[in-house]
């Protein structure tokens, strides 16, 4: 089937959608309204995240002053530091000050490094984004491919094989997969570099321009460094991707499998389209759920890949946040919670907009 306007193939579902769609000006208004609603929701949700992060950290057991000073500090010294940290003030007083500071972009300073939390986040967040983007790229490529194969051959050998593989991958926790990959691919077979960070042990990091290491290496023209960084990304990316592959595979298998038995696909086949084109149409139906899961995973992984970042010394936000939690570095924990919360909200906003742009049913409620 070919669209006369574009000359490209269009599916039967698209044709039906186009026929039922409202006129263009109305479409624009509806889309803008939806964007406005979503944007209006952000401050409210952000306020909730700030409040939750403040309260959660405030009720955590342990005295930060004692954690900072150590066991040999006198009671007077502990009291002094508690005063300096503002811990001697009431919860409500601290909350008001905290919200005021955060709204001005001031997350405070780390109890342990003394560095502004905002700077630390700017330093560590890009590494996590790079890791997650690479992992999701690998996971989506592999997951969608095997999911499509399983959906197309539903109930047959390829489907059974994929289901067994998915079950196997789901059964292995991420950190264990990481350790096993290190053991086999680095230690036994020497196929991967050691898990000692993003560059070689004595390699020099490029000047931080964007803070995205791969981009900075390109900007610095350090091609050996880039090769080294990509090589060292192999294991952590694979480890993180292994956890996401089952999700992509399952959602694709279900959607493609259902689509293959739908009337649209029967019609497409009756029109004499090639099997390859038929699969493409079936896959098109999976794009919205795949996008939704991609965004959900993206939001969850940026803060949630702490263990994997730690195992591979990735120097990302998750590893930084985990250290902050263990050390009871309250401003860092609060900053971590707010940034990951805000990041997730922004990703969901973008997701809503993209999905709405792709699917008029959502655009019109």
């Amino acid at each position: 089937m070919t669209s006369p306007a574009t000359g490209r193939d269009t599916g039967p579902a698209d044709a039906a959608r186009e026929a039922l769609a409202p006129p263009a000006p109305h479409r624009g208004r509806a889309f803008r309204g939806m964007v406005a609603k979503r944007l209006a929701f952000i401050p409210l949700a952000l306020f909730a995240v700030i409040t939750i992060s403040f309260l959660l950290v405030s009720i955590m057991p342990g005295d930060p002053a004692l954690a900072i000073l150590g066991s040999t500090a006198s009671e007077r010294e502990v009291a002094k530091v508690r005063g300096e940290l503002g811990l001697d003030r009431s919860l409500s007083e601290r909350y008001i000050t905290y919200v005021g500071d955060v709204l001005q972009g001031d997350f405070g300073r780390s109890f342990f490094t003394g560095q502004p939390i905002r700077d630390e986040i700017v330093k560590y967040l890009p590494a996590s984004i790079e890791l997650v983007v690479m992992a999701l790229a690998v996971a989506s490529l592999v997951g969608i491919t095997i999911g499509t194969a399983a959906g197309y051959f539903r109930g047959r050998a390829p489907d059974r094989t994929v289901r067994v593989a998915i079950a196997g991958l789901e059964a292995i926790p991420g950190f264990l997969a990481g350790l096993l990959l290190i053991f086999f691919l680095f230690f036994l077979w020497r196929l991967a570099p050691p898990p000692t960070g993003r560059l070689g042990i004595i390699d020099v990091y490029p000047p931080p321009v964007t803070r995205f290491l791969l981009v900075d290496l390109i900007l610095a023209g350090d091609w050996n460094g880039l090769r080294s960084a990509l090589h060292r990304s192999m294991l952590p990316v694979l480890t993180l991707a292994l956890g996401a592959i089952p999700l992509f595979a399952k959602i694709t298998r279900t959607t493609v499998g259902n689509a293959m038995g739908s009337k649209q696909i029967q019609y497409a086949r009756a029109c004499g389209l090639s099997e390859w084109r038929v699969v493409q149409y079936a896959l098109l139906q999976a794009r919205t759920p795949i996008l939704t899961y991609t965004a959900m995973l993206f939001g969850a992984m940026v803060g949630g890949s702490a263990i994997i970042e730690t195992i591979f010394s990735w120097q990302g936000l998750g590893q930084w946040g985990l250290k902050a939690i263990v050390a009871l570095d309250i401003p860092a924990i609060q900053g971590f919670v707010i940034v990951t919360g805000l990041f997730t909200m922004l990703v969901y906003l973008v997701l809503d907009l993209v999905v709405a742009a792709l699917d008029p049913r959502i655009r019109h409620g």
């Binding site: 150590g70 066991s71 003394g114 290190i182 250290k323």
Partner: protein
């Protein structure tokens, strides 16, 4: 062939052989290539910042701080067995000058005078003066609660301005009273000497001690330099040589020291096995046992003053009963723990004093006798036993805590005590629980800053010590420990007599249930030689002296 020609022939063969041997030897030397290479050590975590005076992160900081070696004194471990690994140094007699050239103690015990080494320069080219030393020591005492504790509580430094500049190369440290730890504090890594000229350039009105700059940079008189570019907080740090280092003659061939944070012990072990690193710190005991079979790795178990111990809180009247305390001690099979948990890298405790001190005349009183333990429980009025909570944390004594606690719970069950294991994951929470005495029983690690029995006996069990959170109280014990703290190095007989009496007191009513005298296992590459073991600095290596073959 006549006699002469035979002789000539033999001489020729000998000459040829000699040349051959010489050539082979040269080839061997060439094979042991000592060209500059990085020395790499993997540790569980690198500190978040480098100002060890302001924020000392315990063991994590020690991995860097000890290598910086910018202290007035050091231990002369070269004099000790196996580079200090096989013999405990004496806190009074095994010290050697480092940045100080010499020292003397006032006969009335009112001050210690240090003559500073001349010509000692930082990497910035500034020569060390008494001004640097005073500025650094004053800074340390202002910033570090540990140093204040060591100087004013454990020792008796004059509270008001104890550091005096006598001349540009002489300082005095004023004392109220002499103790056995007066001098040893000056080898402590937190008492490092800064290049104050350089540091002050980075000070501001709001930050007069340059905390922000020193958190990411070094400026001292030690063998290494750290810059902001080479430091990734929490992850890794690369130390490069101080080009002006005063002791360059003893320098090894390490052109840098890389300290990598590798949280997973299995990965640290694999890195060492694969030859990627030269030293792996703090592996589990099973890993050390496994590595013993390796051709490329040397595993040694060094002397230590640390002990795993079971604290029983006197606030609980059941646990305050001396018969119950003795019963608990008797119920524990320390041999089983030493083999099962420590894999031989620890010895069963036999007295109240760590065996590695080698104190003579101590009567072993710690034994394993379950029948006797049951009788003591009945005698104490608890024939059916009771329940307690056993608080543990993997942060102290270490990753083996859970396994050791399971062993203990199983052993205590035999005398009717049900120990419910309570795991506290956070180190700071565990520490807080310890200091506030919020536990029934706690598995703990006694890890003295200075390896001398009086340090531990005073800090852990003295009635007035803040670490005696289990509230042991014995006036005679306190009296003896206080006397021991002020003995002179030559009072050897009195020292031994005091320790023997203390051990007898501890046998009657154990302040703690001592479990295992731990060793310090080290795993290191055989390609590297010249290891020194600075026990008092946390059992670290001294990397600047190492020689590594390619």
């Amino acid at each position: 062939m006549n006699r002469t020609s035979g002789f000539c022939a033999r001489a020729s063969v000998s000459a040829l052989l000699s040349v051959g041997i010489l050539l082979s030897a040269s080839a061997l030397v060439a094979a042991q290539d000592l060209s500059p290479v990085p020395i790499i050590k993997a540790v569980p975590s690198v500190p978040q910042q480098l100002d060890h005076q302001t924020k000392y992160e315990g063991e994590t900081s020690s991995f860097i701080a000890n290598e910086q070696a910018s202290s007035l004194l050091q231990f002369d471990v070269a004099e000790l067995e196996n580079g200090g690994c096989g013999q405990m140094p004496n806190v009074q007699t095994n010290l050697r000058p480092n940045l100080a050239e010499s020292w003397s103690v006032d006969p009335d015990g009112k001050f210690i005078e240090f003559k500073l080494r001349k010509g000692v320069k930082s990497s910035f080219g500034n020569e060390m003066t008494a001004e640097d030393v005073k500025w650094s020591l004053d800074r340390g005492l202002k910033q570090s609660s540990v140093l204040r504790f060591l100087a004013f509580d454990m020792n008796s430094y004059r509270k008001d301005d104890p550091i005096e500049i006598v001349d540009p190369h002489t300082i005095r440290v004023h004392l109220d009273q002499k103790t056995i730890f007066d001098l040893v504090i000056f080898h402590w890594s937190q008492f490092q000497i800064f290049d104050s000229t350089e540091v002050r350039k980075h000070a501001t009105e709001e930050d007069p001690l340059a905390l922000a700059w020193l958190a990411k940079n070094s400026a001292d008189f030690g063998p290494w330099v750290i810059t902001e570019e080479s430091f990734v907080p929490g992850t890794r740090v690369m130390l490069t040589p101080n080009p002006n280092y005063w002791d360059a003659a003893n320098r090894g061939n390490g052109n840098s020291l890389v300290v990598l944070g590798v949280p997973e012990s299995a990965t640290r072990s694999q890195l060492l096995r694969s030859g990627e690193i030269d030293f792996a710190a703090l592996l589990p005991f099973e890993e050390y046992a496994d590595l013993k079979g390796s051709d490329t790795i040397d595993v040694v178990n060094c002397v230590s003053a640390a002990r795993d111990t079971l604290l029983l809180n006197y606030k609980d009247e059941r646990l305050a009963n001396p018969l119950v305390r003795q019963a608990i001690s008797l119920a524990i099979d320390r041999d089983a723990i030493a083999q099962g948990v420590f894999k031989g890298f620890g010895k069963p405790a036999v007295t109240g004093i760590h065996a590695d001190y080698g104190i003579e005349g101590l009567k072993p009183y710690i034994a394993h006798d379950v029948e006797k333990a049951r009788k003591l429980m009945a005698e104490a009025g608890y024939p059916e036993g009771f329940s307690i909570k056993l608080t543990i944390s993997p942060t102290r004594p270490g990753s083996h805590a859970e396994q050791e606690a399971v062993f203990l719970a199983d052993m205590l069950r035999q005398i009717g005590i049900t120990a419910e294991i309570e795991l506290v994951a956070s180190g700071s929470t565990f520490s807080e629980r310890f200091f506030k005495g919020e536990y029934d029983a706690m598995l703990y690690l006694e890890l003295p800053a200075f390896a001398d029995p009086f340090y531990s006996l005073n800090l852990m069990n003295h009635g007035s010590s803040f670490q005696n959170s289990f509230k042991y109280a014995n006036a005679r014990y306190d009296e003896l420990v206080t006397e021991g703290l002020h003995l002179k190095a030559e009072d050897k007989e009195r020292r031994q007599a005091i320790l023997v009496e203390l051990s007898e007191i501890m046998a009657e009513n154990p302040p703690q249930v001592y479990l295992i005298d731990t060793g310090i296992p080290l795993a290191r590459s055989k390609k590297v030689s010249g290891w020194e073991f600075q026990l008092h600095n946390g059992g670290n290596i001294t990397a600047y002296k190492l020689k590594k073959t390619q």
